[in-house]
Symmetry: C2
Subunit: 338 residues, 2 copies
């Protein structure tokens, strides 16, 4: 099959590799309908994470089950499934407690930017649709693999509640999904911090009530204006840099929570400020499976349309251009069609 | 009046100073029935915080109102009151939101280790008992000034809920009050980490179900044994050092919260571990006034006896010995009688 590999920083290739095979009873092989490029794929692409030359890359996909292992009973060949980027048995003590990303049998999904993907712990990880979905639903279903549940987890971790004023730091696909999540949870004011007009438009389509283009001290000043000098009830940090984390803490009112879902890169947490202001922090790798039943229903019922974050659709053969477009911020998120 | 002053590390004196006077309409002067030494007073005592030579020290007290300013209407001379260490108007947006320690008009209480104390924002800060309390209740009432609400805040911040397994790091008076808080909130297992038998006994009296004397890797191993390998649902960090914070995060199960109320000294938060394990952190300076109605009722009804943390009662004249006893851990917490 054809699958995307990374050989060095900015060296993305589409190569032929053997089709994945079932090697454990809990495995499933998926014929991919749509995959995509994740913001976190840009860390190795930019050389900011270590790279194993020639390894496959890509962990978000939806598709049709090709084959399942003998231990998988709830899914069969032909089912259309969402594949969470982190897999889980959904039965261990951590899963039962809602921390599926810390499952005792957790694994990751591979081959997402290719023709076939391999899923470990398929029984506990996958969720299927009723029949084959309309093509128009595919982008939103694909966001369920990672980016929508991750934004949702950020809002859950920040404890967004009805009536809140919420600030979202980061206008990538996760940040935009954070806006959507906060709106769906009943936040009254949702402030999207974004300098990019196409992203501002999606934030607004998702229900953002305010756009703040300023950063740093000017950004904090604008947040203070919007919140009557008080600060935000909840803040979603959806980037993972030290600057964005500082911005998040500066936007939070005393007693607030900052949710964080961007993999931390060089973040030093301001513990003295957190203590003095009683601003907490929670979040991490999203326990995707936990949220899937609820979010799948929201997508299939048409309540939300998170697929708007895909502003570019490319054939798999152009995956390298997809990386370039996202790296240069010409594209928010690229959907790949095998 | 006589009041305690600090002149340098380990140089505590009882000196004559002018009686406090009302200088703002929101002030009140308190004739102190009982004051005490706080664990946080040991930071300057040990030279680990800057010292202004000759400044008064002490911020926990209960007593009888001597005089109130013209803006204080709910309290009058003769009322017996608990004086929170941090004062608040209890009407600003932060107070209304439960973050009284971040009150827009916050201040601190002074003179707590003396004969008379001055309270700013008396109307919003104080709480009074029905008549003069029995002498036997004084120690528990005195804990309401700081240490019991601080332990309570730690448990609230860690989101302790009925049935939880809770680990408390730190066996000072705040940690012991954290044990008491977790038990009152319905935790099923409460693990007190303590190597000191008198403190272990108080923890047990407060309802701790397990005592862990080990620290570091051995301590983590014991916690894992107690929790069936899973880790604690909630952890209370009641010290404020980097070691204790590390211990706290090591004890937490994925998805758990660490509450923290010890003023951080040299703490570097393990952001990567927090992210990978979805372990959050919340807490800070306790919003004492928020909890006082509930905790005062618990004390006056005899439901709890947090006054057990006072294992030593000294006349005010022996305050310097009180500091030595706490510094050398011969005493958990010293009550001072003017």
């Amino acid at each position: 099959m054809r699958v995307t590999t990374i050989h060095a920083a900015r060296d993305i290739r589409l190569e032929d590799r053997p089709d994945p095979v079932i090697s454990a009873p809990t495995d499933a092989v998926i014929k991919i309908t749509a995959g995509c490029i994740c913001g976190s794929d840009l860390w190795p692409y930019r050389g900011e994470n270590p790279i194993t030359a020639g390894s496959t890359i890509g962990h978000e996909m939806v598709g049709v089950i090709e084959e399942v292992g003998s231990g998988v009973s709830s899914f069969k060949a032909g089912d259309f499934v969402v594949v969470p980027f982190c897999t889980c048995d959904n039965t261990c003590p951590h899963c039962v407690n809602g921390a599926q990303s810390a499952c005792e049998n957790s694994g990751f999904t591979t081959g997402g930017q290719g023709e076939f993907g391999l899923v470990q712990q398929a029984e506990g990880s996958l969720i299927k649709t009723d029949g084959l979905p309309d093509a128009a639903l595919i982008p939103s279903l694909l966001t369920l693999a990672d980016v929508f549940p991750t934004g949702w987890h950020c809002a859950v971790s920040a404890r967004v509640k009805p009536g809140d004023t919420v600030v979202v730091v980061g206008d990538g696909a996760v940040g935009l999904c954070g806006v959507l999540a906060a709106v769906q949870m009943g936040a009254e004011k949702v402030v999207a911090m974004s300098r990019h007009e196409p992203r501002q438009q999606i934030a607004t389509a998702f229900g953002a009530t305010h756009i703040v283009a300023e950063r740093g001290a000017e950004g904090v000043k604008r947040i203070k204006e919007i919140t009557g000098g008080v600060g935000a009830d909840a803040v979603l940090e959806c980037v993972g840099t030290d600057d964005s984390m500082r911005m998040a803490f500066s936007a939070a009112r005393p007693g607030a929570m900052v949710g964080f879902v961007g993999v931390p890169h060089g973040v030093k947490l301001p513990v003295d400020r957190m203590f003095a202001k009683n601003v907490g922090l929670a979040g991490g790798v999203a326990p995707v499976r936990r949220y899937l039943p609820e979010l799948l229903e929201m997508v299939t019922s048409g309540t939300v349309n998170p697929g708007l974050v895909f502003d570019s659709v490319l054939p798999l053969s152009e995956v390298a251009e997809g990386y370039r477009a996202m790296d240069e911020r010409r594209s928010i998120k690229v959907l790949l069609q095998p």
